[in-house]
């Protein structure tokens, strides 16, 4: 199973997500990257993240994404 930062690097290879803290605010992920990330997480972990949870607050950092995934029973 790929790590979260590996998944993110497939979308934005040039970014070091392990040290960044504000993915959206700092422009490391734009709204379309977020859509791509949600689709990738759905596919990778066999879940369907609720549309209302596909909001920037849940994709600000590795920690917020992990917290979101935990709601769907995914532990990394």
């Amino acid at each position: 199973m790929p790590s979260l930062s590996e998944i993110l690097n497939r979308i934005r290879p040039e970014v070091d997500f392990t040290t960044a803290q504000h993915f959206i605010e700092d422009g490391l992920l734009d709204s379309f990257d977020m859509v791509t990330l949600v689709a990738t997480l759905d596919q990778t972990f066999g879940i369907s993240i609720d549309g209302v949870e596909s909001v920037p607050e849940n994709f600000q950092s590795l920690q917020t994404i992990e917290t979101l995934l935990q709601k769907y029973g995914v532990t990394l």
Binding site: V35, T36, S48, D50
Partner: protein
Amino acid sequence: MNFTYQHKRISGILSVVPANEKTFLEEMRNYNFPEARSRKLMEVMGYGKHRLVEPGVCVSDLAVFGLQQLFDRGLLVPDEFDALILVTQSPDHFMPTTSSIIQGRLNLKHDLFCMDINQGCAGFLIGLMQAFMLLEQESIRKVILINADVLSRKVSPQDRNSYPLAGDAASITLVERDFNAPIIHSNLKMDGTRNEALIIPAGGFRKPSSPETAVMEDVGDNNFRAQDHLRMDGSSVFNFVQVEVPPLIESLLSTAGTTTEMIDYFICHQPNRFMLQKLADKMKIPHAKMPMNIVENFGNSSGVTIPMALCFNLANELKQRHYQCCLAGFGVGLTWSSMLMQLGHLNFCEIIDYP
């Protein structure tokens, strides 16, 4: 707001698409994005092909072409319909109404109720509601509902948020009385406080087009557009759909005393594949019951996408038997609406190319 209608049916649907087809792959170079990211997004959103009018082609051109085809093939008799409703956000002119232009170009009778309705993605349902109300009048025997838009002419080719999704099309729906038809349920909500989520800022009387409104601006995320272009706040629209549409449909089904399992097809407006997948998953609707393939084949043609989805996915079925269908339209306004009706035994249901 809930509505019910009795003794009404749709008896035929024709969709008209411009023959001019472009693909996301050939347009990708217009966007200032790495190719790999664009390709990934293409898979997720369902970017594929879209149909766009050639410069100068207007809504009345698509509508007149489609109606003439129906007349020529004997599928529609000009004197048998008494109202012509056009739902569009891209009229030929500010005045007169484009429905009057269509009437004139086809030399239709003077005893014809013509009206334009300015509506977008919920426009098929709102047009149907208007048609049903007109059919309460004894003098109105049949209604022609035309949904048509050529909004690609108002979308910046350098706006990756909107241009890959843009599609032009028209649909002609014949609506009439049928005393054997089961009751139709519908509901509708509107929220004008969020009107700027989907807007063309300039070109109306509030902000007339000028050299300044035509200047291309960097609007972030490497997208460029002018104030004369359509602006869509994608995140807001996505969130609006996910929050508002499921309870609307659940309320409709509850009012009608039915359940998701009892519905044969959910035919929704087609903004993009991702949004529809999320909607289906949230409502626990099997994807096979909810077609999501119009954007990737034709583009998002606003109020035309629901009739287009019916013609593209269910043409043969809808000519042979009846199906219980839940329709849902949502978008500009903001407006969201759903309708539960039996569809079937259509006299015509197909897509044709505009030359």
